[in-house]
Symmetry: C2
Subunit: 465 residues, 2 copies
């Protein structure tokens, strides 16, 4: 790979041989139209935030169901929240958890942009509201949620974005809004920044014998270590992982939010590319009920079993979307599942899994295809826990993802005589699981991470220039 280098590096002639990240395009798959949820029209287009005209930078997503969809969101807990994060929070509050549209731009994060940034985000909301056919009984409450991703500290080219949105009026013959796979894929492409493939998934699921559809798209490759929570009454939120999940199941806004909060804690909050939390991380969910317009909404107080079925479907779906981000991690050559088992609490297990997943030494060893359990152990031991570790009960093993025999590296605190050839065989596979057993309790947590490569340094030593 002929690396693009900042000018200052040109004066140095040293070279390093690198293993480039493998191509990842095969993780983008074609899907039949019928698995996409009913009652949504969407598109992706180029409006001019990005320079190259072939790159899409604006996604418009409309719910075409008669009633507004239930809407829920989780936002980053970063103290510097971008304008779209603050505006989406306000919209959700004003509309009591209902919405009919989502608008997303890539290329500029509209973060740290002051008053102008807030005005621009509101302008995107109003322009998209203008695409919706207003009902007679409609209140003046906004019905669009907004997300932005890209460079921090620059203002949006707002007139280009507004023109792009307005070109999609449903009465406009040149509008590209659609309902097929092609339309969903264009929207997913408009989310991308340093991503190497669009991240789109869809599937069907059943609650109480009735079939629904769920589809979603997300983006992210760097600045990925989300910690997202439900909308807070004030402050302390921020995000650059963006995800939008749409379903045609009918769900009450309250239960949609609690299902999402549960799902995010077990999916997007369990991934790390580089340990850095963004100022724009946002995940939005709409449930428009288009598949069952006269059915009662799924609600945890009305029917807890139906609620839990939906919640678990959403969680599994969110985990799939979240893992796509790690697969596309900047410079990543490995996809690594870190499982911590035998803890006395989920929080302890999650903390250890997070620490191992962000350890520069573990991640560079994975890139070097070195079965260095000493670094895994050092990372494990460095976490303050509610129940202290007992080193004599800790075991570490590598679980190959091809179904062959696991390889124990440390058993009850004692190093195993490791077959280095077998260890290298496992570590050189693209997919790998590191399992740490604490031997203290029955709680467990999983984290998904990738390795740390020369390419990561290249990409991030040279992002703005």
């Amino acid at each position: 790979m002929a690396a693009r280098l900042p000018p200052v590096w040109k004066r140095f002639s040293s070279t390093i041989t690198t293993r480039p990240a493998p191509p990842k395009g095969h993780h983008h798959v074609s899907l039949p139209d019928h698995v996409f949820p009913k009652g949504y029209a969407l598109t992706g287009l180029h409006c001019g935030v990005k320079k190259k005209p072939e790159l899409l930078d604006l996604a418009v997503i409309l719910s075409t169901a008669e009633q507004p969809a239930a809407a829920a969101a989780c936002f980053t807990r970063n103290a510097f929240k971008a304008a779209p994060v603050m505006v989406s929070q306000e919209v959700l509050q004003m509309s009591s958890g209902r919405a009919r549209a989502v608008v997303v731009n890539s290329g500029c994060a509209n973060a740290v942009t002051g008053k102008q940034g807030m005005e621009d985000a509101w302008a995107m909301v109003r322009a998209t509201d203008g695409l919706l056919q207003r009902r007679d009984d409609a209140s003046d409450a906004p019905e669009t949620l907004v997300m932005s991703t890209g460079v921090i500290g620059q203002n949006l080219p707002i007139s280009k974005i507004i023109s792009g949105i307005e070109s999609q009026a449903q009465s406009n013959p040149s509008s590209t809004l659609g309902t097929t796979f092609d339309a969903w894929e264009r929207a997913a492409r408009a989310f991308m920044t340093t991503d190497t493939f669009p991240k789109l998934r869809a599937r069907t699921f059943t609650v109480d014998g009735r079939e629904y559809r769920i589809a979603g798209m997300d983006k992210g490759a760097g600045m990925i270590h989300p910690d997202m929570g439900p909308p807070a009454p004030s402050g302390q939120l921020h995000a650059t992982l963006l995800a939008c999940v749409l379903t045609d199941a009918p769900v009450s806004p309250r239960s949609l939010q609690s299902a999402l909060t549960y799902a995010v804690d077990r999916s997007f909050n369990c991934i790390s590319v580089d340990g850095d939390m963004s100022t724009n991380d946002t995940i939005l969910v709409l449930a428009n009920g288009a598949a069952a317009q006269n059915a009662e909404e799924i609600d945890e107080e009305r029917d807890v079993k139906a609620y839990e079925t939906f919640r678990d479907e959403l969680t599994a779906f969110a985990a799939d979307l979240a893992q796509l981000v790690v697969r596309d991690g900047e410079g990543a050559t490995k996809f690594v599942t870190v499982s911590v088992e035998g803890a006395t609490s989920y929080a302890d297990a999650h903390k250890i899994a997070s620490r191992i997943s962000t350890s520069a030494l573990v991640k560079t060893a994975l890139y070097g295809e070195d079965a260095n359990w000493g670094r895994i152990l050092a990372a494990t031991g460095s976490v303050p826990l509610s129940t202290p570790l007992d080193p004599t009960r800790v075991s570490v093993s590598f679980i190959p993802k091809d179904g062959t025999t696991p390889l124990p590296l440390l058993v009850n605190g004692e190093p195993e005589k490791v077959d280095e050839v077998r260890a290298t065989e496992i570590v050189s596979q693209e997919d790998l699981e590191i399992r740490v057993e604490l031997g203290l309790g029955t709680e467990s947590a999983k984290y998904w991470t990738c390795d740390f490569s020369y390419e990561y340094v290249r990409i991030n030593g040279d992002y703005r220039t």
Copy 2:
């Protein structure tokens, strides 16, 4: 630089142009003999832990003062403590904070080595005790503290180490124990693993009109993110930063420990190379009083002013030693001071400084010589604090270390129009300060870190092989 690469990488032909770490040998300086503390004899030798005969791997440090020295230590808080950490803790307890020797090996950490590891560490203590001239009134308590650094999970070649120690009997004509700069330097060299230069400093200081000397050596280049505390009654400790500080001032064991705990919190616990905490981190201090044998010991309850003078000298000295480790950080091309000011508590300021100092995105931007304040801000905002941040009060600036004008990047939450030429000028210097002002209070903290380079990935993708 012709990079040594693991065999699997050879199949890839891609290359990246890299800026190699600058030579750092000039940070090792020659010092006059008279600044070294009185009453210590020491050496460094090759005993065979490392393969290459020219590499020193064993340091022996004896206090030759008549009375045992006051001794204090801080150890890593990692749950997996190496055998030498546990043994040194026990020695300090058995001897009520007194010691007369320190023995150190490099090349093997004696960590995760079970019962055999404990026996080996005790054997090192006993062999070194054997070098000391026992006084008639001596109890049977051990008088040697022990440290090890190197690979985890392998047993020490203990007979080679014991032979090495025994060769240094003061009656033995081939003993190389000495008191000159040359002897101190050999000891410092025997601490080294991936270090590129020996880390040795010495100076004089004055308490109550009396002059004393302090000298110290340390090692460390990777797995550097210490969090060390005083000896705990049980468990929860572990370390790969090693430091040994020796003074000829008379200090009570109790006050030596409290001065050290204070100093470590403001020096070694404020550095990061890669965010990874080791299983062997240890800092030891001996104060043998050889410069003033009939003077009363410095003690905080007897004379708080004298104590504070000593404590502040120790803190400044420890900060110098700690910074040498960051200068020699694996693959580092920059030395970066992160100052966080205007916090409501030291803990909040310290947490933010630590987060910025470990951010992969900030560190790769520094390597790329990119004044990317957005990443600094995202890292700042991701830390949960006791007093929430107010984004409109936060300012970020770069302070050049050549005395030229600071460069504001963000003032009260608003991005400055940055002169990119000037920004690049500052970021391309080897030394740099990032200053973050929170505008909330009067507390501040400093952290020292380095950048993240191709060389870091190379060194750690290829450490064991």
